[in-house]
Subunit: 191 residues, 2 copies
DNA sequence: CAGCGTTGGCTAATTAAATTAGCTTAATGG
DNA sequence: CCATTAAGCTAATTTAATTAGCCAACGCTG
């Protein structure tokens, strides 16, 4: 009986792939074990259980997303950076709906949760986008959160396949980016 | 053994309440049965199973939300209508996080799915908000979808308790409303 | 008021999935 | 070459959903 030689990263990676393939809700230990050519209990040598696996997939997704966004934004600023962020975000969620779904509803286990770190990196990229616009000092956190909500909303609706939309979501997404760009260009009035 | 005299609506309503109390992910047939003073299999006399129950809760949530929003928007237009919609939306999700979570990831079973009807009503309210702004004819669907994404994003982040935010989300939400209002006021340039 | 069908409840059994216990063997390092 | 550890396995347990099949209460009707 040759050893499969799995690592925790292998299991999480295959789990993420499985979630993308069959949907996050259908992620199951048995299916994953089969796919890895192993019996179900063997997975417990590498991960703590289903809940842990789901959390790890969420962390993987946020990390990958953060990396992709950071790469795409290299050397861009202002509207270019916004477009790069948005397009990359959307491309990631399209390519990896199951992974992204894992991040929806995932909770932070504490201040040193890797998921929290990964999420913070993504928020930092949003902050970097905003540096290219003239947003007041005490408005900036509100702006970060607003952008986060908008992109997250689009992503969850897409990941949930909620778009019974006629026509291409792409076109709406572009409109959304222009809407945000226009909003960020206008000086934010004193509140 | 006196009959409890349950109806399907009772079961769905109690399920919704339970989801709000313990979180949608922890909604279980056994807990619900206990809460209704009944054994688990008895629930199947009224509903088709857990998946059906979840779908029904989502429909209930969308219906309640649509009614609340419609009520709040009575006699308002433009920025007032926008504020009324947004505040009501947020209040509903705050009061009923479990119900709203049920709507995330719920799929339409077909063109006559009551959930689809209820969702459409909410979208109609968004369309009504936009009638108070000067949005071009062929921009309007994009605008509807953009607003939907933004509010839905806020709602899911809040329902998932993802706000490790310092300070009051309320303030950010107000900022978000003003941001949208400002964006809708500026004439949308020809694309 | 008795009969009787329908409804809504029950217990017991089944299924499915996650998890745990305990055993075995391949790799590795002294 | 042995001893330790790690990674797999089978078998057992637990938990939750669901199904099967029985029984009593309610509401009607003759």
């Amino acid at each position: 009986m040759p050893k499969a030689g799995l690592t925790a990263a292998d299991v999480v990676g295959a789990g993420a792939q499985l979630a993308d393939d069959v949907g996050f809700a259908n992620l199951a230990m048995g299916t994953l074990a089969t796919r890895l050519g192993v019996r179900t209990p063997s997975l417990y040598k590498h991960i703590d259980g289903l809940a842990q696996l789901q959390h790890d997939i969420a962390t993987l997704a946020m990390t990958e997303l953060g990396d992709a966004v950071r790469d795409a934004m290299q050397g861009r600023a202002g509207p270019d950076a916004l477009a790069a962020f948005a397009q990359t975000f959307r491309a990631y969620v399209t390519a990896h709906p199951g992974r992204y779904a894992a991040t929806v509803g995932a909770l932070f286990t504490g201040p040193d949760d890797p998921l929290l770190r990964a999420s913070t990196r993504v928020l930092d990229s949003i902050a970097a986008v905003l540096r290219g616009y003239n947003v007041g000092e005490n408005e900036i956190t509100h702006a970060i959160r607003t952008l986060r909500c908008t992109f997250h909303g689009f992503a969850t609706l897409q990941a949930a396949n909620a778009f019974q939309w006629t026509g291409d979501p792409e076109e709406t997404f572009d409109w959304m980016i222009r809407f945000i760009d226009r909003g960020l260009r206008t000086d934010t009035p004193p509140q």
